[in-house]
């Protein structure tokens, strides 16, 4: 049987955490429910699963690429126009280091940005079940359950303190 989304809206973090506990107790895998908020709550506030990521690899890869590009850019352009100035070597390391440093940092930052977007699973072209009241401060508990469990999940969310339970995206402005 196909799974269907259901979204409970809660006014307090305590109630949302209770809903999470209730879903867990009802046998819903942790990968099948999520908490949607308009502000970052402290990690673990809802008893949610630990989220691993590989973001830290991105700046290192970017820095390595930028370093290579910087060294190549400065050395090759120096050699391409070999004008001796003040008896200094054509490939002078201190000035090369300046431009190489900037290219290293620039590429590291660009790769970090790519990493943040990629690891955040963005862009999400298909948004799924959502309610605009979440950005008004309500906490959404979004569960994906078997279709025959929708009614029982709705009851469970309501008992945990949900002020509303929705099955179709909506809310003001939606």
């Amino acid at each position: 049987m196909a799974k269907a989304p259901i979204l409970g809206l809660f006014e307090t973090a305590d109630n949302a955490a209770d809903a999470g506990d209730a879903l867990k107790a009802a046998g819903v895998p942790q990968t099948d429910y999520d908490f949607l908020t308009d502000t970052p709550y402290p990690e673990g506030a809802f008893g949610e699963r630990h989220e691993g990521h590989r973001l830290y690899i991105f700046p290192f890869v970017g820095a390595l690429i930028g370093l290579t590009v910087g060294v190549m850019l400065t050395s090759m352009t120096s050699m391409a126009y070999p004008l001796v100035q003040g008896g200094k070597p054509i490939m002078s390391l201190p000035p090369m280091a300046v431009v190489t440093y900037e290219s290293t940092m620039l590429t590291a930052i660009i790769f970090t940005i790519i990493g943040i977007i990629f690891e955040s699973r963005l862009p999400a072209f298909k948004q799924g079940l959502y309610d605009t009241r979440i950005t008004e401060g309500y906490i959404g508990v979004l569960a994906n359950v078997e279709e025959d469990q929708l009614t029982s999940t709705q009851t469970l969310l309501t008992q945990a303190g949900a002020i509303d339970v929705v099955r179709n995206s909506g809310g003001p402005g939606a």
């Binding site: 970052p40 989220e51 300046v98 290219s103 620039l106 970090t112 862009p123 402005g173």
Partner: protein
Amino acid sequence: MQEGTPLQSRQINRELLVSILNSPKWFWMAVGILGLIVLFAMGTAGLMINKGMGVTGLNRPVMWGFFITNFVFWIGISHAGVMLSAILRLSKAEWRRPATRAAEILTVFSLMTAMMMPLIHTGRPWRLVYWIYTVPFVPYDYARGIWPNVRSPLVWDPSAVYTYLTSSILFVIIALIPDFAVLRDRTTGISNKIYGMLAMGWQGNPRQWKLQIIAGVLLSALILPVFVSVHSIVSWDFGMAVSVKSWHSTIFAPYFVVGAVHSGVSAVAFVLIILRYIYGWQNYIRHEHIDALARLLIVVATGWFYFLVMEIVFGFYGREADEIAVRNLQFMITPWNIWMMIFVGVTYFLPVAIWLSRSARRNLWIMSLACISVNVGMWLERFLIIVPGLARKQLLTFDWYTYTPSAVEWIIVGATFAMVSMLMLVIARVVPLIPLYDIKEGEILRTEIKIGRVSVPATFRED
């Protein structure tokens, strides 16, 4: 340090999105007036391009004047964004929350303005295409086989500034994604579609928030070294110039960086005061925030003053003829000596005297005066480094000269302030200048704890 009353999410949305959803009646009039000033300056720049650089006060040997002074000034202002955003983010200073976004956006606009100045200064800005070397392996003047001279500080400079500009823009955009989602949920029609695209399907699940928080810290740590490098490299435009001996100072890099932070943070404090006034953000930009910025500025200003004194003392101590000639101009010859006195007074003594008083720090009119005073002084500082150095560039008095800016230079430089003001107003119409989620996070983390018989505000701080 917490004042004010706890705020609800809905109230935060309503109040902080007022600049976007209900822009005030004066908005278009203000943008129009500022736009006309910018257009007038563009026409003046067009005249300058048409007639040649002879319409400016630039001469031989003073070939850098108002335009380059203004370039260094706006680069300095741009340092506020990273200073506040990155350092305060990394140190988890609670009072950063309302200040970061405005500071970052001010960084972007002031960098753009700064980069315009050398282009205008060239007199032939269409030759920009020859300068574009930062795209790897794209040479300039390829036809004649002339490649960028990596040994020139004038090549390091754009590489650093463009790195900083690109990084700052990306930093702002990443931090805006959650706020774009709020706007997506509050708008309809075409605005809804645009904000929806910009929000990229943001839902606000724990994974996205975790990455967003790490992004703030990681990007801050990456941009900080760039921030230090940018104004260091701008100082090397002078410090490593072969021909002007009085600019050969080993402390120029830290001196310029601290000076930039001094002017930049003052500018941010002023912008925050203006935003508080025009959008009624008293609940967000509170006296405690301006007070904290002023206290920070006392330290920054004193650090800057130390470098200033050292720079002057080292200049005199060597007793080299070139250096003494420049110092003689700065300290003994009118009107330069009067400008020097005004510069030191308005950059250090007047504002620091104001900031030492708690009541003055919490008086927004006085704080505005102090912040403007610092920036007038910092503009003069750059002018008094650049012009006297060039005016006394040659050893023989036969080659000494002075500089009087023309109306063309006054108009173009004056219009850059109108341009940045206009851009700040326009961007306030499009994105929230105070980060919504940051304020909301501050609200959920704040509480009150009872110690003995008093209740004191407290904030939970996550590691």
